[in-house]
Amino acid sequence: MSRYEIRIGGFGGQGVVTMAVVLGETLSLIEKKFVVQTQSYGPEARGGASKSEIVVGDVEIDYPKVMEPDVFIALSRAAYLAYIKGLKENGVLIIDEDLVEIEGDLPNGVKVYKIPATRIAEQEVGSKQATNVVMLGVLCAITKIVTNEGLVQRIEERWPRFKESNLKALELGLKAGEAALAGQ
Amino acid sequence: MTTTPPILKHPMLKYIREDRMPAIYCPGCSIGIVTQMIARAIDNLGLDFSKVVIVSGIGCTGRTSGYFKTGTIHTTHGRAVAFAEGVKVANPELEVIVVSGDGDIAAIGGNHLIHACRRNIDLTIVCINNNIYGMTGGQFGPTTEHGRFSQTSPRPIGNPEYPFNLVQLAASSGATFVARWTATQARRATASIEKGIAKKGLSFIEVVGACPTAFGRMNRLGDGLDMHRHFLKVAEIQNGLPPHEAEFDYDRRIVCGEFVNIEKDEYTAVLKQMQEKLRK
């Protein structure tokens, strides 16, 4: 794998940056991949559409930003509309089905996965704040870009006090991702 | 047989770079008097002079640091206080004294002055207020009274602005020791500088001085001697007066004294506590 690009979009407060950082930490520190993580800043990151990105590879990453994402995870309509452009042909689109609808034409061959991530976080984990970790589980199941073991290890290291709820969110996300994959 | 009479040396010369004498100041200027006050205060306190740092900015008073025989720095215009803060934070063992003119410290450097007061960092600031920008030839400054004449407020125009009262400015900004004297109260001013140095916190001592060359000439106040005589006449000592009542009316009444002497946590001591709390 020379270069694989992931884009995550949502509104401020959904944890899109944390999601990319945890993913980056896992890929870089545990799975020993080459990783660059970038994100939007400023007023853009506070409300409206906010995004964070990961480029991962087995060789050193030259250009650090996402150009044509292999995966786009959309957690809000504004982010979907702002960042859908550029999604690679035959790429993967993961949306929170309660917050985003497919609008406009998608590039050829894009596979769409609809996951009620926020609902899962709120109703089954007990906190909307866990949405981003649910989505990490979904991403892991659908793309296999990161291992579940790696994410579990990183979550345990990073949030020792909130380990349980986050591991539960990850597990639920993984299951939802697997179900969505089976349904394709 | 004849004997050469011993050459008498000024007792404060031990603190001064003799090879830089004579100083640049005009006849009748007060800066030399205040320089001696600072030397005497250091001497009276018995400080290890090598641990004293003297910082100044630009202008006539800005040259003062260069005459002291210790670690001395001549910074950019208005920035003596900021420079001194860096020195004090990096090495709190040093006794840091800022000598600054009124234009340097209250106009271009006014922001640093008020924020240093707010932090209550252990500096001693001696401000020689001669009511004018002297070095550049006599333009009105932040302490020049309304209507006074200067090169940028020439006759018949007069200064369109109103002055800062430096005692009120320093006190309301948070300084924990604030005093004002004129250059003619040499002993009292020296004692206040001593107290300011000894105080753990920000001390601000204003010394009202004469600039016969610029302020005196343009406002027809006579020569240096006349101006100093005038200070003796209008200085009114009111120790302990609330700082907002410390009036400065050049012609009629310059209220002098020590107006603030309060206790408050000193900035570098607070930083040290944080280091002790977090040190790994």
């Binding site: 870089s28 800043y41 030259d62 250009y63 | 001549h74 950019t76 206080v81 001194a84 803060e85 934070v89």
Partner: protein, 378 residues
Amino acid sequence: MPERIMFTMGDIASAEGALSAGCKYFGGYPITPATEIAEWMALRMPEVGGSFVQYEDEIASITSVIGASWTGVKSMTATSGPGVSLMLEAIGLAVMTETPLVLVNIMRGGPSTGQPTRGQQGDVMQAKWGSHGDYQIIALTPASVQEMFDQTVQAFNLSERYRVPVFVLADETVGHMRERLVIPDEKDLKIEYRKLATGDPADFLPFKPDDDLIPPMALLGSKYQFYATGLTHDYRGYPTDKEDVQLELVARLNNKILHNADKIIDLERFMLDDAEIAVVAYGTPSRSARKAIKEAREAGIKAGMLRLKTVWPFPEDALADLASEVKHIIVAEQNFGQVYYMVKAAAAPTPIHLMAKPAGMPQLPHEILDKIREIDSL
């Protein structure tokens, strides 16, 4: 401290580099996109027994850094273009008083307030020519999180060695991106410290240079008394308006850097050995160029890159050599052309092509590839 590995952003890597270099004083003021450095230092400085002060503005920040450095403490500030604009007068004071300090500039869009959250490389000329008068500074241009660490350590070493302000000039992308950072075991790091005054205080001349053109430094609070001033000064540090003193001082302030340029300049040659087209780039655009060059090579075009890790002192000799090796030089920088003019002066008459982009996104790899193809077809 043993080796540590983090996944972190360039700003934080720079702060950690400073701490590894022995920095114990940070004076700063919040500004996007450099604020993360101050935030990191606010917590880390007390941990290492150092001090973090948030000042009322950038002028106080840099001036306090000069003051702190004169006590012998390694000191720094971090800011962005508008902050550097405010600091320029004090940078002149640091040059004139030969004060070691490090200034990290995370470059954002300009002019004026510009685009605070977007990267640019518009401050290259400002770093060199911003303060008045004739002088030299050193400016390093990292392109990765690891280099933010490594080159900040190097910035401290150079500032201590040459008694000069050293800039770390990083574009916002490098400052804000996260990558893997390896902080080496402290015993594997080469850390330099300024040459200090020795000998009898009575004979000490604070601004008399040694043969290497650098005067040993006396510290505040030491047994040496001295006067340091921004005025033109003689070996004693005393102000003078004599012409010969001014000429000697200005020449020395310049030459202590220029005569050591070969020891300061750090360059990376990438696929240049048989190249016919060379891209000159630094910071984020150099990462675009690397991708473009790999793709150009796959297409059979002999392209390469000279990556500048130092922009000041400018590597004139290396550019002159490059000009004799290749047929065309492309300068790709995230501004309207700054290093370009230096390359032009050094590498004439080889054709120099500017790819200017004074905007938040750097030249994209395919844009540089297109330019390489266009020039290859000439």
